[in-house]
């Protein structure tokens, strides 16, 4: 009774501030609330956002957390109207995410909006392929709505968006990506009525030139995406006398009819533009780069998949402004001479993406490393002509590198040794680099403690030794890909189980892994959300049982070709948040076991199965599972034998 209670001297506000800094990790919050009753109630009062796994307990959740204002249902494949009614009547909702949920109609949304019409500021209804104009007209009652996502709501037409445009005047963000039913009329009305808009995504809408003048007159527009609007052309853009002066980001990828003429019309006088994305568009010519040169604030340019000439690259190099971010991935026509001239001038470059520019050699790399010493991100996947020495010079000159993608290059152990000196490295992708051995990995493991992501896809020379070095040296590792690194055994997994932050583990095609190592992972890496153990033939039910017991946050698993039986699958089915399961060629599995697992696993969203199971599942059963929000994908792949990395690469090169 007389015990000293130090926490009673802390006011709620101070504890709330402490909780604020804890909110990044949900597990810590959970632990906090389990300390004592007062902490429990404080945590309940503090909680503002919820991301429930299932809608069944929504009632209780809302009772416990009375001040929740933001609900994220992206883990619930099925949200019925009744749930929405329940929510709307009990809390003052500010934000709701229904982008991954199905089975609600405009009636649910109606009750949601009508009860919270003044508080609601954010609604995400993306992927609502069953939503129609009535839903849109209901949304329009939310007068204070600021952010609205409706991407891929393919049945919302001009009428619906017209209602929203008139009703929600405070909209700042509107995402209409892929709303095929919209036309110029609806989009034009949005631009006329919602003058506060800052971010507008009109990608893949069949709009034409007609609505462009209104859009470009929006006074506060910062970001505009017109990806795949193939009816927009130079003529229409030329009619815009003045581009939006506030525009900072413009994305006009996949607009085949827009050339430098249209682009210069749109960007004319837009001094604030920082980012320009014109991927997969018309060929990049000198006249196009000239019109970009007139943008004084431009920092980021993405020209992915465009056709380039050396003269255009040289012209970019002659700009007086200095780019921070340049992406040339999959560009055709990037040669050493052009690229060398470009990078020689842009010394401030921080991010460079030259993936799949297969023509470049060490010459370009030397000029990159000589001039762009402040690079933080370098992606050069499939630059296979770049020699080994180039990678050594990258490590010597660029000390600020954080992200490196050397997938499918000639990088070797010496290169890795040189690179790992820069201890800032957090992402390293060295898949399909056949020259890499354990030696290189040991260098990475000893010098890169900040490593978060490591990709070792198809590295045949990697053994347990290298993985052990990584596991001991990189405690922050979250994502690791060991797929088809065939020499990996259980020992690697035993050492990796010390990296408790791992959430994504890919180890398909590692035949030496058994349930022993897998169990260690299951026990050690409790945050595992994505797991791929395809073709790990030795993993059986006991591994599954432990996984199900410990990894309660697993969302996605691929079990194909494993020795799992009905028992293992049923164990797996008890993981409450499991959403995506791929089960192909699992011999031990019977139809009845599969049915039992499907019934008991409530949260399933997607199940990939072999076609042979289709006949053994009755149609009413399939319909029942589908009505819960789960979709079936039937695959008819033949049984595939494993191929070793070298012959696989030869095959790949033969097909290219």
């Amino acid at each position: 009774m007389g015990r000293f209670k130090p926490f009673e001297f802390l006011s709620d506000e101070i504890i709330f501030t402490i909780l604020d800094s804890l909110s990044s990790s949900p597990l810590d919050l959970k632990s906090f609330s389990l300390v004592c009753k007062s902490f429990h109630s404080l945590e309940s009062k503090h909680r503002k956002t919820l991301k429930p796994y299932s809608t069944e307990l929504v009632n209780k959740i809302l009772n416990r957390y009375p001040f929740v204002s933001s609900l994220d249902f992206s883990l619930c494949p099925r949200v019925a109207d009744k749930t929405l009614c329940l929510i709307s009547s009990s809390i003052g909702l500010k934000s709701i995410n229904l982008s991954r949920s199905k089975f609600f109609t405009h009636l649910g949304v109606s009750s949601l909006v009508s009860n919270n019409c003044l508080t609601l500021t954010e609604i995400d209804l993306s992927n609502g392929i069953s939503l129609n104009d009535s839903t849109a007209s209901v949304i329009s009652e939310a007068k204070n709505l600021e952010k609205l996502w409706l991407s891929r709501c393919v049945f919302i037409s001009d009428m619906g968006i017209g209602c929203i445009a008139v009703g929600c005047k405070k909209l700042k963000l509107l995402d209409l990506k892929g709303c095929f039913s919209l036309s110029d009329l609806g989009v034009g009305l949005v631009a006329v009525k919602c003058k506060q808009l800052q971010i507008l995504d009109l990608s893949y809408i069949p709009i034409t030139n007609k609505c462009l003048p209104e859009i470009f007159q929006l006074p506060y527009l910062k970001s505009l995406a017109l990806v795949g609007c193939c009816f927009i052309d130079d003529e229409g853009l030329a009619n815009i006398r003045q581009g939006s002066l506030s525009l900072e980001t413009l994305n006009m990828s996949y607009c085949p009819n827009v050339s430098h003429v249209g682009l210069s019309a749109v960007t004319n006088g837009v001094v604030s533009l920082r980012q320009l994305i014109i991927a997969y568009g018309s060929p990049v010519t000198v006249s196009l780069t000239d019109c970009m040169q007139r943008l004084p604030m431009l920092q980021s340019v993405k020209l992915d998949g465009c056709q380039l000439t050396s003269s255009a690259l040289k012209a970019i190099g002659d700009w007086c402004i200095s780019l921070r971010d340049l992406s040339l991935s999959k560009c055709v026509g990037v040669m050493d001479d052009g690229l060398s001239l470009l990078v020689a001038k842009h010394k401030q470059l921080k991010k460079l993406d030259i993936s799949c520019c297969r023509e470049i050699t060490r010459l370009s790399m030397d000029s990159i490393t000589n001039s762009c010493t402040s690079l933080t991100s370098l992606r050069m996947e499939s630059c296979s002509l770049v020699s080994r020495e180039a990678f050594i010079s990258i490590g010597k000159k660029c000390h600020f590198l954080e992200e490196l993608d050397f997938t499918d290059t000639e990088v070797d152990d010496e290169g890795l040794k040189s690179i790992s000196r820069g201890s800032r490295l957090s992402v390293l992708r060295i898949g399909i680099c056949l020259n890499i051995t354990d030696e290189g990995l040991i260098h990475v493991g000893t010098h890169c403690p900040k490593l978060i992501e490591l990709d070792l896809y198809r590295s045949p020379s990697i053994t347990d030794l290298g993985i052990a070095a990584i596991a001991s040296g990189c405690p922050n590792l979250e994502i690791i890909n060991l797929a088809y690194s065939t020499d990996i055994t259980d020992n690697s997994l035993l050492s990796l189980s010390k990296c408790t932050k791992i959430n994504t583990l890919e180890m398909r095609g590692c035949p030496n892994i058994s349930s022993t190592g897998f169990s260690a992972i299951a026990q050690g890496c409790k945050r595992l959300t994505k797991l791929d153990i395809k073709s790990c033939f030795n993993i059986n039910d006991s591994g599954m049982a432990l996984l199900a017991h410990f990894s309660q946050s697993l969302k996605q698993i691929n079990l194909s070709y494993c020795s799992v039986t009905d028992v293992g699958l049923l164990a797996l089915a008890s993981i409450s948040c499991l959403q995506v399961v791929t089960i192909l060629h699992v011999d031990g599995l019977t139809a009845n076991g599969l049915i039992a697992a499907l019934v008991s696993c409530r949260g399933l969203r997607k199940v990939k199965l072999h076609t042979s199971f289709k006949s053994s599942l009755s149609q009413p059963f399939i319909e029942h599972i589908e009505s819960r929000g789960c979709s079936f994908q039937w695959r008819d792949k033949p049984f595939q034998a494993a191929v070793d990395a070298r012959s696989w690469k030869q095959q790949l090169e033969a097909t290219l």
Binding site: T55, E56, R78, A80, D81, K82, T83, F103, T105, H106, L107, N127, I129, S130, D133, S134, S137, S151, R152, D158, M159, G162, C163, V166, G178, F180, L185, G188, L189, V192, K193, Y204, G228, C230, Y254, D541, S542, A545, L546, A548, H549, D566, V567, L570, A571, A573, S574, N592, I595, A596, V599, S600, S618, P620, F621, E623, H624, E626, S627, R628
Partner: protein
């Protein structure tokens, strides 16, 4: 030799119009113009003569001639003759003192002349029609409207009254004609001279005439009155509405004349008559001109683009233009889309309880009635989780109890979605869209 393509008719028409205009401007007859007219006639007759001569020659050369061609030639010759007669009469008519003194009455003799001329054409072959001329002369009123109506007989549609030149014309530069109410509202304007049956159109009358004897069945009798008719000297003529006080009445201070007979008819019916045609769809709109009703019925019920202010629009872009223009106006969805309420009992609730209590019918006695939830629930209690499943016989499971499970019908039919997918793949990067969907 093709006679039909001779551009004679057009030339003549133009010249005559000039001629006519000249004749009207001068108070006395112009010998110069008369001389010109006569020489033109002479030329015309000469032409016709050579044409007939040619026909005679052809008849000699070719023994077998189809009757059709002969009839055609005959028709052509008679048409030319008619125009010559018309020309002659009008030339002579311009000398008559009455033609200038009163514009409204001047019209009457000329009309008669022309109709006489038309009949003259037939007189050549069928003298019986001579009676028709007399009839027309006697039935002056009807004849007058007959003639004018004939000029517009093919016009099915109402003419726009707005497109009048009358506004540009000086008040004395045209003659004003005023029909009486009865004439305007008369049902029939063409009458059979034998049985006195009335017709709205001249063509119908001609069809009717066939029943009165073979002489009416000849191509010439059945042919549409020659277009050359319009080559009579055209006096700018405007019409006045008989309703005193109407702006279209000639007594009105700011008189706005009507352009054609049809304009008069439509104007009079629309403005001064009862609206007896009611739209059968909306039972609301009334019209006095049947064509107006037809036009309305085409669009009636199609104004489904609705604004919150109550205005309806037949086109979506008009509605959106309206909404963009006014503050607070919203597009309104058709009412049937927004009906419905959240069903009681909540399907989701039903679904979950159902799914939770679904029992699997194990056919073997040993494991029958095992609830799947219980099996899973036992997991946490066991030290070795993998061992607890070993006795279960999954082969014996039988899952046929599902037909009564609730199924929520999706609003989106499979077909419509697959259509969307196939359409999206036609967009350039269908791949990413497919992924997205």
């Amino acid at each position: 030799m093709d006679f039909e393509d001779t551009p004679l008719g057009h030339q003549k028409c133009d010249k005559e119009m000039d001629e006519d205009a000249a004749a009207r401007k001068l108070p006395d007859w112009d010998p110069q113009a008369m001389l010109w007219n006569l020489s033109f006639l002479e030329h015309k007759i000469h032409q016709l003569r050579s044409m007939v001569h040619l026909i005679v020659q052809q008849q000699d050369c070719v023994s077998h001639r189809s009757n059709g061609l002969l009839a055609q030639q005959q028709q052509l010759v008679s048409a030319d003759l008619t125009s010559i007669i018309v020309q002659l009469i009008s030339t002579a008519g311009s000398l008559l003192p009455s033609s200038k003194t009163s514009p409204s009455t001047a019209n009457v003799p000329r009309s008669v002349h022309v109709s006489e001329a038309v009949e003259q054409n037939n007189v050549i072959e069928h003298l019986e029609i001579g009676q028709a001329v007399n009839y027309v002369l006697e039935q002056n009123d009807i004849g007058k409207s007959n003639l004018t109506a004939a000029a517009v007989e093919e016009h099915e549609f109402k003419e726009e009254e707005d497109v009048e030149e009358g506004h540009d014309l000086h008040p004395g530069s045209y003659e004003v004609l005023q029909l009486e109410k009865e004439e305007i509202l008369a049902q029939h304007t063409h009458f059979c001279l034998i049985c006195a049956k009335g017709f709205k159109r001249d063509a119908n009358l001609r069809m009717h005439m066939r029943g009165h004897g073979n002489q009416y069945k000849t191509p010439a009798a059945l042919a549409k009155p020659a277009k050359d008719l319009s080559t009579e000297p055209v006096v700018l003529r405007r019409y006045s509405c008989p309703f005193v006080g109407c702006k279209r009445n000639k007594e009105h201070k700011k008189f706005l004349p009507l352009k054609t007979i049809l304009c008069v008819k439509n104007h009079y019916k629309r403005t001064h008559c009862e609206k007896s045609y009611i739209c059968s769809r909306c039972n609301n709109k009334r019209f006095s001109v049947s064509a107006d009703l037809k036009t309305h019925e085409k669009h009636c019920g199609r104004d489904n683009w609705l604004c919150s202010c109550g205005s309806t629009f037949s086109r979506k872009d008009k509605l959106f233009g309206h909404v963009a223009l006014f503050q607070g106006h919203t597009p309104v969805l058709p009412s049937d889309e927004t009906k419905g309420s959240v069903s009681d009992g909540g399907e989701s609730h039903e679904l979950t309880t159902r799914a939770g209590s679904t029992r699997f019918n194990f056919s073997s006695g040993a494991s029958s009635g095992i609830d799947i939830q219980n099996v899973l629930g036992s997991r946490n209690g066991e030290d070795d989780p993998s061992s607890s499943y070993s006795q279960m016989d999954f082969e014996a499971c039988n899952f046929y109890g599902f037909p009564e499970l609730p199924r929520i019908p999706s609003e989106v039919s499979e077909g419509s979605l697959s259509f969307l997918l196939s359409e999206s793949s036609s967009v350039r990067n269908g791949g990413s869209l497919d992924d997205a969907l």
